[in-house]
């Protein structure tokens, strides 16, 4: 313990500590922290590692349930999916790196979330991604999109994990801050699930994989005694991922899962060695000693500070018994992976970092992890929200007739076909993709069970902007609906909260409202939260993004034979609407397209009705009564109808009785409104009565709207367009992509 450092505001800013927090740390230590210690404290007390703003809110989320094997707090959540298997999953943001360098930012985002899953021992079986950009019409935004898509594919395709689903939306709110959220799902035998809790003082700590470089180090200029401006110049702003190396790491980690030689496994993510070593030791109630001199470097002249805070990709930390170290290292050698013994587990409850013989950091772990100084900022409902909510969407004259409106919506970048994106992702490797991208949710076979897992991500920015609580609740419900539409029972979710600077009262209000909305929906549907991530400070020049709660949902299908898909599957089938008739145009895509605004009340949500509609739909699917099922979302009933036609390659004729008496504006509302809790299903006519019976039992409306077949999409006397036209409009939405 040598140098005392005078700390300027600028230096504190770089380690993201408030002066009170710095003083708290000094008091707690009884001395001034060393430069390395300050970096360590700043990292572990950051929002990213310590959730200092969001944790008090997140504690309110329901996280337990009969299937939950691992809730939040580990590298990823895990649920029991039967057959002795666990499904391990998590979603995480990589927004800021993707904004700087879209390809590498997105690629390393995928790399990071993959590691979170295989750290638990699970073999990653699927990737999903949720993206937000500024308007698609702007070349700069398409360039970003193109880079992000290439990066996601570049990593996922190379490592051999299929990218099976996702979503992308374009909104001016993301012009300066794109969102890139990546989700990974893995499968493992429950008894091989590996935790990241160190145990056994004297056990060795190994770092495996890539050499450590000066990647992703923030708080750079702080340690002025060691660093000058020239050295911060030497630090790359962007990390370049190496999926090939990660593939090798993944294979060994998956193989070693459940191996008695492995005491604990932990990946190196945000704040690198600092957070992984601290968390690993603290979870097991131990201490840890690390000698940075033992860490292999990619570059010469790195300081202990840089080694401890480097975020170089494709690295893992392992704890093994001394007697097993050589044989475990041999497992990595087989895949040409380098490993270093860098320290050992202790019983001190402290993190001791040395550089050879010199101690550079000696901190109590409890202070670093349990004593994060939580912030409780003030929340305030944004002024001007009431004015927005006061708009009456049904008062504005429709600019186009209905058929043209439908085609325009299908051509909209927010609704049209995502094929130009997903055909650049390998969505089939692994040979388990039963329902591919383009439907409501992806469905993956789980071998040995006869069943599968349904996977989706969902989040609607426009609703959240008007009412963050409702927006988050709808995101949960919509994700569950996606899963139900393929015949799966929603089981658990992961979430990514993308918000602006929470020190702004309006943003903190949005955040707390969103968490509350998520909580209400989770409780109503009985779906726990098992993992998640928070991305705050998505601001540029004082402008925050629209609050965006992204939900990643996992559902379970017991028997793949009872799955369902979204395309109309036979001619002459009845088309039914399950759920209420509504005309909620507030926050709708129609409103954006027709009037270029976001206003009025977003769709109302009756959580009990939502639960009943989902239960009725699932029952009808499982009874084998339903030939297609599609969730109603952006663009409402008309768009859902068109999509089922396109996916099924056949038209449909809806009966005019239902719409006949309606005024044009009401027709717009009925057809393009985004009222919640609804599915469009098709079924052989002989089964319609049985579906009605099920719906009645759940107190859910079921309306026969018309019949499938032909090569036109028609609502008699209201609109009539050819299937070819509809399909062409839908296919052209994201063309050209770049």
């Amino acid at each position: 313990m040598t140098t005392e450092v005078h700390v300027s505001d600028a230096q504190l800013l770089e380690v993201a500590l408030a002066r009170e927090e710095y003083e708290l740390a000094s008091r707690r230590l009884g001395r001034v922290p060393t430069p390395v210690e300050l970096g360590v404290i700043g990292a572990l007390w950051s929002e990213h590692c310590g959730y200092k703003t969001s944790k008090p809110l997140l504690r309110r989320l329901p996280t337990s349930g009969p299937r939950v094997l691992q809730g939040p707090g580990e590298n990823a959540g895990a649920v029991d999916i039967g057959g002795g298997l666990a499904c391990v999953f998590k979603i995480e943001s990589h927004n800021h790196p993707s904004a700087i360098e879209p390809y590498q930012g997105a690629a390393t985002g995928v790399g990071g979330i993959l590691r979170d899953v295989f750290t638990m021992g699970a073999r990653p079986v699927a990737l999903l991604d949720s993206l937000r950009f500024g308007p698609f019409e702007e070349p700069a935004q398409r360039h970003l999109l193109d880079g992000v898509v290439a990066g996601i594919g570049g990593y996922g395709n190379c490592i051999g994990v299929p990218t099976v689903a996702g979503e992308v939306y374009f909104d001016a709110a993301f012009r300066h801050n794109c969102l890139v959220n990546a989700m990974c799902v893995g499968i493992i035998e429950t008894d091989r699930l590996t935790r990241a809790a160190a145990a056994g003082p004297g056990n060795l700590v190994l770092v495996v994989g890539a050499d450590t470089g000066r990647d992703g180090i923030h708080g750079a200029t702080f340690a002025s005694v060691e660093l000058n401006e020239a050295s911060s110049e030497r630090r790359p702003a962007v990390q370049v991922g190496n999926p090939f190396l990660e593939k090798c790491l993944m294979e060994v980690c998956v193989k070693l899962a459940g191996d008695p030689r492995i005491v604990a496994m932990q990946d190196l993510g945000a704040a690198g060695l600092t957070s992984s070593a601290a968390e690993l030791a603290h979870r097991g109630g131990c201490g840890i000693e690390v000698d940075v001199a033992q860490v292999s470097r990619r570059e010469r002249g790195m300081t202990p500070y840089e080694v401890m805070l480097s975020e170089s990709q494709e690295r893992m930390l392992l704890v093994v018994r001394p007697a097993d170290a050589a044989s475990v290292q041999a497992e990595f050698d087989r895949w040409d992976l380098h490993s270093d013994v860098i320290g050992r587990i202790t019983d001190t409850g402290r993190m001791l970092v040395t550089d050879g013989a010199e101690v550079v950091c000696d901190l109590p772990l409890g202070m670093l992890i349990d004593e994060v100084p939580y912030r409780h900022p003030e929340g305030r409902r944004p002024a001007g929200l009431d004015a927005k909510l006061g708009i009456d969407p049904l008062s504005m004259a429709p600019p186009w007739e209905i058929g043209e409106t439908l085609l325009r919506l299908l051509r909209s970048p927010n609704i049209g076909s995502r094929r130009p994106i997903f055909r650049r992702y390998d969505h089939q490797v692994g040979d388990d993709t039963v329902i591919r991208p383009g439907g409501d949710a992806a469905l993956l076979r789980v071998r040995g069970t006869g069943g599968g897992v349904a996977l989706t991500t969902d989040g609607n920015t426009r609703y959240g902007e008007l009412d963050p609580r409702l927006g988050a609740a709808i995101a949960v419900c919509e994700a569950a609906r996606n899963v139900v539409a393929v015949g799966a029972q929603p089981v658990a979710l992961t979430n990514c909260l993308n918000f602006g600077n929470p020190e702004k009262p309006e943003v903190f209000w949005q955040l707390s409202e969103a968490v509350e909305g998520m909580r209400e929906a989770c409780l109503a549907l009985g779906v726990p939260v098992v993992s998640g991530n928070v991305s705050l400070y998505n601001d540029t020049e004082g402008e925050s993004i629209a609050p965006t709660t992204v939900i990643g949902m996992v559902g379970l299908v017991d028997d793949l034979a009872r799955r369902c898909q979204a395309g109309f599957a036979g001619d002459g089938d009845s088309v039914l609407l399950l759920g209420p008739v509504g005309m909620d145009l507030g926050g709708s895509e129609y409103q954006r397209l027709a009037h270029d605004l976001n206003g009025g009340r977003p769709p109302t949500l009756d959580l009990d009705l939502e639960r009943r509609v989902q239960a009725a739909t699932l029952e009808a699917i499982h009874a084998g009564l339903v030939r297609s099922c599609h969730d109603l979302a952006e663009g409402g009933l008309a768009v859902a109808l068109a999509e089922s036609c396109i996916l099924g390659g056949r038209g449909a004729v809806l009966d005019k009785r239902f719409f006949r008496l309606a005024a044009p504006l009401v027709q717009i509302g009925l057809l393009f409104g985004e009222s919640q809790s609804r599915f469009l299903v098709s079924a052989p006519r002989s089964g319609v009565d049985a579906i009605r019976t099920i719906a009645q039992r759940h107190d859910v409306e079921a309306r026969e709207l018309g019949l499938t077949g032909g090569d036109r999409v028609t609502l008699t006397d209201v609109f009539d367009v050819s299937l070819e036209q509809v399909a062409a409009a839908h296919a052209s939405a994201l063309v050209p992509l770049s």
């Binding site: 360098e101 030497r234 790359p236 570059e299």
Partner: protein
């Protein structure tokens, strides 16, 4: 005057270069163990007209700054040669 400009774009020295690492591993595997470091870049050659070498260099530099390299992660080097008139 006609010039041939050869531009080499490569990752900045501090940026991780997985391609270089992989090529190095391949070389080592084949017995070229004397190789200690490999960096992989792009080679772009341009034929162009300019009044002077200085002018040519200025234009190529501009091309590099605007398009040919990604300033976030890449450096570039330019070599110029006068071409015989056609």
């Amino acid at each position: 005057m006609r010039f041939l400009a050869e531009v080499v774009v490569s990752l900045k020295p501090v940026v991780n270069d997985p391609q270089g690492l992989t090529v190095r591993a391949g070389l080592h595997q084949l017995g070229f163990t004397e190789v200690s470091d490999v960096r992989v870049g792009k080679h772009i050659s341009l034929e162009m007209e300019a009044d002077t070498e200085e002018g040519a260099r200025r234009r190529v530099t501009e091309m590099c700054e605007k398009l040919l390299r990604n300033p976030v992660i890449e450096d570039y080097a330019i070599q110029l040669r006068v071409l015989e008139p056609r």
